[in-house]
Symmetry: C2
Subunit: 168 residues, 2 copies
């Protein structure tokens, strides 16, 4: 397959994967584009490449910066802003894990903790089932949380080395 076709295919696949995981399709596509681009690109270039509007490009780029996945760059003597993606896939994974942990896992843990203080007749099967479910989910979420904590601090080779060695 030729590079041009492969790029298109990769951008499409990354966009699809993103949308299946609750990430805006366009955001994932812009990220894909920057990920395979050796040079930083301007808003203009991104707009052309993906056929999206200026407003969309601007918002999407801002979001990607918010996720810590891309950065602005300035070239000497130029007014334009250039955008550049971190190419280290482990950093990307960590960054995504970090943000989703903060934005989603932590709020859920908070709610679960509130819910574990539910009151009522301790003989009521409804209450018993409810408390058991909350407790179990809490434990699982706690383990996920700890594992993510470790991942956030770890080097890639150490992390997978450790995880996969255990599972061999």
């Amino acid at each position: 397959m030729e590079l041009a076709a492969a790029k298109l295919k990769f951008i499409e696949a990354w966009g699809k994967l993103g949308s299946e995981w609750g990430i805006n399709r366009t955001m994932a596509q812009v990220h894909a584009l920057l990920l395979i681009s050796p040079e930083a690109l301007t808003t203009e270039e991104i707009m052309e490449n993906l056929s999206i509007s200026r407003g969309n490009a601007n918002m999407t780029l801002r979001d990607l910066i918010g996720w810590g996945l891309i950065e602005k760059q300035h070239k000497a003597g130029e007014r334009k802003e250039y955008f550049f993606a971190d190419k280290d896939v482990w950093n990307i994974a960590r960054q995504v894990a970090k943000e989703r942990k903060k934005r989603e896992l932590e709020p859920v843990l908070k709610v679960l903790n509130e819910l574990s203080a539910v009151t009522g007749n301790e003989k009521d099967p409804e209450l018993i089932t409810f408390k058991k479910s909350i407790e179990d989910i809490n434990k699982l979420a706690g383990n996920v949380d700890k594992t993510l904590e470790t991942m956030l601090k770890a080097e890639e080779s150490w992390f997978w080395g450790s995880v996969l060695k255990v599972f061999k």
Copy 2:
């Protein structure tokens, strides 16, 4: 907090979490409802409880069965179908991991493998960057895949025991 309020809050939280992870909000809510219900429920009861239409309930229940998260039950001498959720949170996690691996990770791995056969001028920075990215993503995805494989086969206590021990 009273049980009734806690239930509502849990259903809402589970629905929100689902929608953030690309799972239909209603589907997650129906799952939440069944998860905290000691008894199997009928379509009718689910419709009432969540204020959703018959068609929506029916499709959602079918999807949940497709994900392996709930089952139909029949009560002796009754025509109605009852629905019941697996209450084992580790099974739920495994089931979701299994389905998403099959539906999303595997197709992506397939595309990545095709893309790693990209051709072109080996001196072209565009090609070099592209190949490097694909290769790195491939490696990471491979490790995720192996870890999920292990998780699918493992008992909960063993899995977290092993993972967390390594990281302590």
